[in-house]
């Protein structure tokens, strides 16, 4: 027996020492014959293998025997398998790998779109830029207005894109349409966006040619994506010259709840400033906000967001003017809420959907009469996405409803009217990677609109070509429909929707932290509302064409980040009360913006400046024969800001707009009186706005107790 074990052991020992060692070696290349360094080459199911060197060669010893598969894997290439019989002579293998388009970075269609996200480095903007841009005053659209394609129009505050009016832009939060996203707009006073920029991690601003998923917007869409939940409980406190706020976020294992409350009151500030108006009640209000997130299943996420605000203001004009109320008192209540789910159903299928709703009530009391406008909006949407290696399909359906009730009263007379509009739409879009350097997108959107009962079919196309390592060309085309504004539908509910077509050509050059974009476009408008005859009718039309330039550089000077944007806009339209085609009053033909940020490390302070030049805006002087032939003088502003990091939890922020106090005239109003023609310049309420705030973030230190261990 003993001898048997011994002989067995001996046999095994002998076998293991005489096991045949084979050498497996060779070269890995791509299909063009270029060597591939850094590829992993190994025998499947074994530890035996090696990585290719800088010349694409590899070699390793193996004692495996039999029929084995040699696997070669390299990021960006199709994994290749080759059968080998071992032991054997495999010392001169030559294997070429095919590029795997699905693993390569996608060629993104950049025509019309500016993206701000933290996820990719090669973007024009970062979400942080929204709050650090001088002159933006923490307002999302304030920062967007420093990008090409937009009008600065400091008397408006909303987005005015490529000759389009403010109603031609639509805002989305996590895919849901937001109705009344701006505070109530008053004549000659700018409004602000209602949403806190810190809510969002990703922002895409598209000035045209956007995807078939977006409708009911003639000129632009602003797509906001809310932040993911934080890892640790966080409390934030802000103390500002115009108010105060507090927020808390409580995360749990797979979800979180965030609450925020803000109070703003400009009374103390207005009291110190000399303004155009006599403020009896400077703008003031409460704002409350709730975000709830919960992961569901393996790959799903529910996000719910709600906001309520209540604002008041009252003023008297210091210099009364005929047709303009001497005294105005406004009360606004606003609620917005949305809830939605998004998630992966399988490796290739994704589903997302949700509902949003809004309620907006404006109560105006003026010496010319009272107006009460109630506006409700609803949006429901469901989208399915199918992602294959080279092809993505997105299809969905949505329903938008809008109800406006307006009550007017003057002395003892009162009238009330109501209008409802609905849009039902279905859309489908395919994005296809033709090759490693070409991507194409084709989409179709069908919509049915009430009360006019009209139908519309909108094709959307996009193409991007990676022309060189750092440069890319892209083009986009699309047609767009939008219902007439509620103010017109109230008077005439059969108004057909507006139509626009965009043609965009874009060149982009991007190398590490430098980005150049050149874009040119043509846009046509049809069926715009005209009010010449007293009743609104769809006989207006127009066009816009222009060229834009954007240059951003974060590299040349250490700690300096700046961008320059230029827009040339040539646009005319017949709409509203325009007797002939003319350029609207909010359009400056030339706009140049320079935004700079410089971080001074030793004092941990970032200084920011924004310099903007806008050529004169059109206005109509009724005394002259020609329509809209007046031009205001150009507007030139310099804004400054500074953010000082007191600690990693406390930031002191200060800013001033229009530092030099440049006299800005946005236009003129005229009135024919028995004493002759009166004229009044429209100016900002105050030449400058000065702001300071202290922002404190308190994070519960999960490691605090651990400190006591030593």
């Amino acid at each position: 027996m003993k001898s048997l074990y011994l002989s067995l052991l001996l046999l095994l020992f002998a076998a293991s020492t005489t096991l045949a060692q084979s050498l497996v070696a060779g070269t890995i290349t791509d299909t063009k014959g270029e060597s591939l360094p850094g590829a992993s080459v190994y025998l499947q199911g074994t530890y035996d293998g090696a990585s290719t060197d800088s010349l694409g060669t590899f070699g390793f010893q193996t004692s495996e025997e039999g029929e084995l598969t040699l696997i070669i894997s390299s990021i960006g290439y199709h994994g290749e398998g080759q059968s080998l019989t071992l032991p054997g002579n495999h010392e001169n293998l030559r294997i070429s790998l095919k590029e795997d388009i699905s693993q390569m970075e996608e060629v993104v269609i950049t025509a019309g779109a500016y993206q701000a996200t933290d996820e990719s480095r090669a973007v024009a903007l970062k979400p942080m830029d929204i709050v650090t841009t001088a002159g933006a005053l923490g307002d999302i659209s304030g920062a967007i207005r420093k990008l090409p394609g937009t009008q600065p129009a400091a008397d408006d505050g909303r987005l005015l894109v490529r000759g389009g009016t403010s109603s031609e832009s639509r805002i989305y939060i996590d895919g849901m349409s937001v109705q009344s996203p701006f505070a109530t707009k008053l004549p000659a006073l700018p409004t602000r966006g209602r949403f806190n920029p810190f809510l969002f991690k990703g922002i895409t601003f598209s000035s045209g040619g956007y995807s078939a998923e977006y409708g009911q917007a003639l000129s632009s869409v602003l797509i906001l994506n809310t932040k993911d939940r934080r890892a640790v409980p966080t409390t934030e406190i802000s103390l500002m010259t115009v108010g105060a706020g507090a927020a808390h976020e409580q995360p749990w294992k797979r979800g979180s709840l965030a609450l925020r409350a803000d109070y703003t009151n400009l009374q103390p500030y207005q009291g110190m400033m000399n303004s155009e108006r006599d403020w009896q009640k400077a703008p003031r209000g409460w704002n409350g906000q709730l975000s709830l997130q919960q992961e569901t299943g393996a790959h799903g996420l529910w996000k719910t967001f709600a906001q309520y605000s209540s604002n008041k203001l009252a003023f008297r004009q210091k210099e009364p003017f005929p047709g303009v109320p001497d005294a105005l008192n406004l009360k606004n209540d606003y609620f917005y809420g949305q809830t939605g789910w998004s998630g992966r159903l399988s490796d290739t299928w994704k589903l997302r959907g949700g509902v949003s709703g809004s309620y907006n009530l404006d109560d105006f009391i003026t010496d010319l009469g009272n107006r009460r406008t109630e506006r409700n909006g609803l949006h429901a949407k469901l989208v399915a996405e199918h992602h294959l290696p080279r092809l993505s399909l997105t299809s969905g359906t949505e329903w938008l409803a809008d109800r406006t009730v307006e009550s007017l009263s003057h002395d003892s007379l009162s009238t009330s009217s109501e209008v409802q509009s609905h849009t039902t739409a279905v859309f489908t879009e395919a994005q296809y990677r033709l090759s490693g350097s070409v991507s194409a997108r084709a989409g179709l959107r069908y919509q049915h609109m009430q009360p006019s009962g009209s139908h519309g079919l909108s094709p959307r196309l996009g193409l991007a070509w990676q022309a060189g390592e750092h440069s890319q060309l892209s083009a986009a085309y699309g047609t767009f429909y939008q219902q007439a504004e509620a103010e017109y539908l109230l008077a005439e509910n059969s108004l057909a929707p507006y139509e626009a077509a965009h043609y965009i050509l874009n060149y982009q050059w991007n190398k590490s932290d430098r980005l150049l974009r050149v874009e040119t476009y043509y846009k046509s408008y049809d069926r715009l509302t005209r009010t010449l005859s007293g009743m609104p009718e769809n006989t207006g039309e127009g066009f816009a064409k222009g060229a834009e330039l954007f240059w951003r550089d974060r590299e040349t000077v250490k700690n300096l980040d700046y961008w320059v944007s230029y827009s040339y806009t040539d646009t005319e339209r017949t709409y509203s009360n325009f007797p002939v085609a003319a350029t609207p009053t909010f359009v400056s033909k030339h706009v140049v913006s320079v935004v700079g940020k410089y971080f001074v490390r030793p004092i941990r302070t970032q200084f920011g400046t924004s310099i903007q030049y806008a050529s004169g805006r059109p206005y109509d002087n009724p005394a002259t024969e020609a329509f809209m032939d007046g031009r205001t003088k150009p507007i030139f502003t310099i804004d400054l800001n500074a953010a000082h990091l007191i600690s990693d939890q406390v930031v002191l922020f200060a800013s001033v707009t229009n530092l030099l106090g440049y006299d800005q005239v946005f236009g003129y109003r005229y009135a024919d009186t028995p004493g002759g023609m009166l004229r009044q310049a429209i100016r900002p309420d105050a030449p400058r706005f000065v702001f300071a705030g202290l922002f404190i973030t308190l994070e519960k230190k999960s490691t605090e107790e651990l400190l006591n261990q030593f």
Binding site: L4, Y5, L8, L12, S16, P37, G38, S40, Y42, G45, T46, Y47, D48, G49, A50, S51, S54, I75, D118, R121, K126, P127, M128, K227, R230, A231, V232, T234, S512, R601, R604, L645, S647, D648, E699, K701, S702, T703, L706, L707, Q709, F710
Partner: protein, 218 residues
């Protein structure tokens, strides 16, 4: 009887040689890691661990070392775009390791990899990722209060923040001192595959600490 014995023996021996192979392959890759001195060398070592990990699906160590090699490659890399790719690879292996076993060493690497991601774009990623780094490292210390590497990475992270704000160095250096003490008492048996890196770098960090605190004391 004979056949049963023979079979048993054969199973035993093949089993032994198989287990031996894992150890041999790991030791070979660990030797390669000790000799690595460039981003390319670190990535090819990462691939060696990845090959072992593909065979030994239940082991956390191959995943751990693959992740560690990618992190080293990332920190040795000057081009931020490539650094980002290495860190993404590191995260894949940390997560694969955590699926096998949730332990202090893997949590340390998770914090380390996220710290690397902050360096790619500190201004925008810092606010979001800093708490996540702290959470992973806090968990690492909690899971094994004797893990010197958890204190080292925590110290390194805190030192970076402290130097930027010009305060809080004492706390950061407390972690580094503690790491150094723990390295002194850490027993690593000859030929062990358990993580044992970090002492050299901690000594360097401790030197920086001595300088900073001396300067502050003046």
């Amino acid at each position: 009887m004979k056949t049963i014995l023979t079979t048993l023996l054969a199973i035993l021996i093949t089993g032994m040689t198989y287990a031996g192979n894992y150890e041999v392959a790991m030791q070979k890759a660990l030797t390669q890691l000790n000799e690595a001195d460039s981003p390319e060398a670190f990535t090819s070592t990462a691939q060696a661990f990845d090959r072992i990990g593909k065979v030994e699906e239940g082991e956390w160590l191959p995943q751990y070392y693959a992740a560690f090699c990618y992190i080293r490659a990332a920190f040795a890399e000057g081009d931020v775009a490539i650094r980002e790719k290495h860190l993404n690879q590191a995260m894949v292996h940390v997560e694969a390791g955590l699926e096998n076993e949730d332990n202090s060493e893997l949590q340390t690497l998770l914090g380390y990899a996220k710290m690397g991601q902050i360096t790619v774009d500190p201004m925008t990623r810092g606010p979001q990722l800093t708490p996540e780094v702290m959470q992973a490292l806090g968990k690492a210390i909690q899971m094994n209060p004797e893990n010197p590497r958890a204190y080292m990475v925590m110290g390194q992270m805190k030192l970076g923040t402290a130097r930027f704000f010009g305060k809080g160095e004492e706390e950061a250096c407390g972690y580094i001192t503690r790491a150094l003490e723990l390295f002194g008492t850490e027993e690593v048996p000859e030929g062990s595959m358990q993580p044992a890196w970090g002492q050299h770098y901690t000594t360097q960090l401790a030197g920086t600490c001595t300088e900073i605190l001396a300067e502050k004391g003046q």
